[in-house]
């Protein structure tokens, strides 16, 4: 069996890649999800329908496939069109994860926005607040509280989903653990990797529990 002291630094390197995928995905997918949520509630069908289609494709096909499609798809596209927009492996992963998670976040945010009573908009309107002020000062702060539990689920799933990046040979935590498993003919590295994921999610769970408590100052 492999020595833990030699295994840990290797896995730690992979874990940093995992964290990078995780962090960058959240950074892009949350604002994108908010924009998509607002677009999906648009009065105009020409906006609403394509957005619905996008969400259904993102939620209806495997993320694994989407990663492959973005990486190889962009490669062939740039090869044949000469546009030169092909993604490197890591950016392809970030792009795929971001647009996939944005679709899920969008549906959570839309639910949160629609759960705000009509009276809140009417009160804001009567006080002369503009639509922008109403959204950012009245609606959004209340949406945040609404969507924390459902978003926590997504965020925790994301930690584990990062292992899908290995499909285009991005060496994140799980990919490295598998290499060690093969090299030492032992499943022990996989379990150690599992502990990494578990501890990360334990910390996240604590954070979200704290956040929920913090947002509980009003009903």
């Amino acid at each position: 069996m492999q020595d833990l002291s030699s295994l840990l630094p290797i896995l730690w390197g992979g874990f940093c890649t995992t964290l990078a995928i995780f962090g960058l995905t959240l950074l892009f997918s949350i604002p994108l999800g908010l924009i998509i949520a607002v677009l999906k509630m648009s009065r105009f069908r020409v906006i609403r329908y394509p957005v619905s289609f996008y969400i259904s494709v993102m939620r209806g096909t495997p993320l694994l496939l989407q990663i492959v499609a973005i990486y190889f798809g962009s490669y062939y596209l740039s090869e044949y069109s000469g546009l030169g927009i092909s993604f490197d492996r890591f950016p392809a992963v970030i792009a795929a994860f971001s647009i996939n998670y944005a679709a899920y976040f969008a549906e959570i945010f839309r639910g949160g926005i629609q759960a705000i009573p009509k009276g809140q908009y009417e009160a804001a309107t009567m006080l002369g607040l503009t639509k922008k002020q109403t959204f950012f000062r009245i609606i959004l702060p209340q949406v945040v509280k609404q969507v924390v539990p459902a978003s926590a689920n997504e965020v925790i799933t994301l930690v584990k989903d990062t292992s899908l990046a290995q499909v285009i040979a991005v060496t994140e935590l799980f990919a490295l653990a598998k290499k060690q498993q093969a090299a030492y003919a032992s499943i022990y590295p996989l379990f150690v990797a599992g502990i990494f994921y578990y501890v990360a999610n334990l910390l996240l769970s604590c954070f979200f529990a704290y956040l929920e408590k913090k947002l509980n100052y009003y009903r």
Binding site: T125, M126, L127, G128, R137, I138, Y218
Partner: protein, 257 residues
């Protein structure tokens, strides 16, 4: 009357085939209080929502503080509204107190009061806070500045929402059944506040099911049924002298309790 601060003429409003308001006309002078009474579904709230621009009206005229909300008719025969800047001026001269308060739950009482004066009127934050504190004192809510709406009773919440409307210094204050969501024992404290405002000559339009209150506080009472004004006049006329059958049937139902 030419000194009327609120003039409504031939107002009509339908939701599809449902003619909610058929031909509503009335006016109100500055410093006066108008009570609107009538059975549920008679169009009282819709009338208020049309005048406060929360609903669009189909036809008719509304003039608030000398400004016309409607400037003609469009090709479809529907009311053509005044330019946005005029509508905004009208909006800022009107305040509305809702049945369900609609306070902003994520903001403290004082933040509820100061948000619009600071963000909409551009008031100095310090002045807005001072004004907010003054209004809370007037509402008997001293010391509640930092409370969140959920920590207050229904009656206190409604008083905060009155203060929030007053903080914008409106020319006319509208009340849409301000006590209907309250327990009977909390109703009194809100009605007392509104009476106080009437004594201070605040122009108000009040939709209410509190008959005794409607009679006592108002200079003028409008009785609506099925989308039309059936009777209007002084409280004494409407409550004691009118021989209108529908009105008297309605009032006797209330007298029985």
């Amino acid at each position: 009357m030419d000194n009327a601060i609120l003039k409504v003429e031939h107002l009509k409003k339908s939701f599809g085939d449902n003619h909610v308001l058929k031909d509503i006309s009335f006016d109100l002078n500055e410093g006066e209080v108008l009570s609107i009474i009538g059975p549920s579904g008679s169009g009282k709230s819709t009338l208020l929502r049309c005048i406060t621009q929360l609903e669009t009206l189909d036809a008719g005229k509304v003039c608030v503080n000398g400004k016309d909300m409607v400037v003609g008719t469009d090709k479809k025969g529907l009311a053509k509204y005044a330019p946005a800047s005029v509508l905004r001026e009208i909006r800022l001269s009107t305040g509305l107190v809702f049945q369900n308060f609609n306070l902003f739950p994520h903001l403290t009482v004082l933040q509820n009061l100061c948000l619009a004066p600071v963000r909409v009127l551009g008031d100095d934050r310090k002045d807005a806070r001072a004004m907010g504190r003054f209004l809370l004192k007037r509402m008997g809510l001293e010391g509640k500045e930092k409370a969140y709406p959920c920590e207050l009773s229904g009656g206190q919440q409604q008083r905060v929402s009155i203060a929030r409307a007053l903080a914008m210094n409106p020319k006319i204050l509208f009340f849409d059944e301000p006590t209907s969501a309250l327990d009977p024992e909390l109703t009194g404290e809100v009605l007392k506040i509104i009476k106080g405002l009437a004594e201070d000559r605040m122009t108000m339009v009040i939709v209410t099911h509190e008959m005794a209150f409607a009679r006592d506080v108002a200079n003028k009472v409008v009785f609506m049924d099925k989308g039309v004004i059936v009777e209007q006049g002084t409280p004494d006329f409407v409550f004691n002298q009118s021989d209108n059958e529908r009105l008297n049937a309605f009032l006797s139902r209330f007298a029985k309790g």
